[in-house]
Symmetry: C2
Subunit: 361 residues, 2 copies
Amino acid sequence: MIGSVDTIPSSTIASEPVTLALDIEGGDQGPAEVLAGAIAAASPRLRVLAVGTSQVVEPLLAEAGSAATRFIELLPCASVVTFHDEPARAIRNRPDSSIAVGARAVVEGRAQGFVSAGNTGAMLAAGLLVVRRLKGVKRPAIVTVLPGSGGPVVLADSGANADCRPEHLAEFAVMGAVFARVGLDIDRPRVGLLNIGEEPGKGSELARGAHSLLAQGTQALDFDFVGNVEGRDVLSNRCDVIVTDGFTGNVALKLLEGTAHTLFSRIKQAAASNARSKLGGLLLRPALRGLRSALDPEEYGGAYLLGVRGLLVICHGNSSRRAIANALRFGENAVRHGLVSQLQADIEQSLATGPDVATMS
Amino acid sequence: MIGSVDTIPSSTIASEPVTLALDIEGGDQGPAEVLAGAIAAASPRLRVLAVGTSQVVEPLLAEAGSAATRFIELLPCASVVTFHDEPARAIRNRPDSSIAVGARAVVEGRAQGFVSAGNTGAMLAAGLLVVRRLKGVKRPAIVTVLPGSGGPVVLADSGANADCRPEHLAEFAVMGAVFARVGLDIDRPRVGLLNIGEEPGKGSELARGAHSLLAQGTQALDFDFVGNVEGRDVLSNRCDVIVTDGFTGNVALKLLEGTAHTLFSRIKQAAASNARSKLGGLLLRPALRGLRSALDPEEYGGAYLLGVRGLLVICHGNSSRRAIANALRFGENAVRHGLVSQLQADIEQSLATGPDVATMS
């Protein structure tokens, strides 16, 4: 599993240091917080290229001191892509902006991956315009890992493609399955289609079309299509990979975050309601803390943009130093796994033999 | 608020008994469980027409005894619509089937509403084909009430329309707002559009189109359009009514159920992990029980099909006697509020002055 060094087959662990670019000025919590994440994660085996403007990043590096930052190197950019920028335009017109510079570091081989908590749309645009799509991939997808009751669940697409056609969903199934195999060590992932009923004829035109594509074409692929799954199955581990369009996937992802947040604050309130509950809450707190962290999206460090020729990790805009450090460590493990090259090989093969994706457009 | 008798303005409480039809043979838990719900709710002020086949319902009524069933009367049907039936065909071809008979009781004035935990699609078809749409309504919608942190939140559409156009979402906004006003006593409901970003230009083609319709046309209406809301806002009471297509709405609704279920089972597990946690769990249990019931969809008794000429309440297939009883009580209150007639009046007025809904098709 990515993030759990024990389970990485030793054959895939390269012994050389991994270098990742990190967007220091992306994210809501400011550059000092992002840099703190880099300092926590950087090591002789994980070097960080700190992408940012000299005037912001140099003083921060100086303040942290040379001991803390000895595995971190400034990669200067001229400007920062903000949440107000129109993503594609920012990437096209400002090649010296933070996200364009970070993505180019991957293309040029100076870094093996790029991590940013900045503008998600700009990361997507950088993936399409700078890193570029893998051969045969029509629609790169954002893949996140959800905390299912019985283990991690892969969600594809989590927000890259708001409008999709059935063949795009079939492509997400292929990419999600490869991610589950390579990243989560699941031999033959079970792939489900998120829908509003279990029967094949249920749902929107899009879901019905995707169902019939996936039902006819997965024999030759290394995953099993288990059919439609519903919202209540998302965390139940009925399948390892949940496929949906980026609109539904993004709503679902944020709803999960919001629901977990709401429930935990209400548990806190309930535990403060009287003396008996207060004592109970105090005694239960350590066990609930474990649960809360198991459900925390920061545990998984970020989302992966799959289907492009490099490793792009998109962190939540509100990422803390802990989330940034996790994303860097997960990125390092993904590089050591050879995630992108395996994805490339498997996706190309899957697309060639898969659910008629290659012949549609 | 529907379901809370205290808050009903006395002027809207009619003193006559209310009669509701109830589909005894709909639902996963079997007719005895549904009838138990009817027995719990029926009273001199709430009479129940028990729709079912004589051979199933008569013995159950006899077994329960005449005292328990004195406010319940059999309304016989010849067959039952099951979850395997194609909904529209079942309603069209089998006028003596349970859901068709219940819906016809509403049209004929024998009942003031119809409650069923059976096939949702068949209830929708009965709404369209038997009860028929309100004047000016293109797409009746299923409206549910979600347990927001600060009070109830209306979700429209929760699953009636898997494929929508922008003007349908504008219509759901109008209907959801009327429901919030009449049913939840919210004077001027705040309506949000479920989307994957807050800015107006974000989201799918459908969401962008609905945003521009709603942004231009709500001045004359009795609600405020607050713009886009995201998945994490669903339970945060940023708005009183959340508008979305029936596909996204249904996924969201079931995801909420699934997440709450998963979290509570994991809290249970955490509370069983060691002696300290066990004691904590024991002490906290009464407070958490209150929270659990506040989050329980059964509290709200069901979903309302809005936009048709009668009150149709759709219960969860897995409804217990408690859920059935709540749905009947909520239905009674809706009748006493004159929900449908107020909806009819308000929807017609809203559609005439609203966000260009009437001129589109």
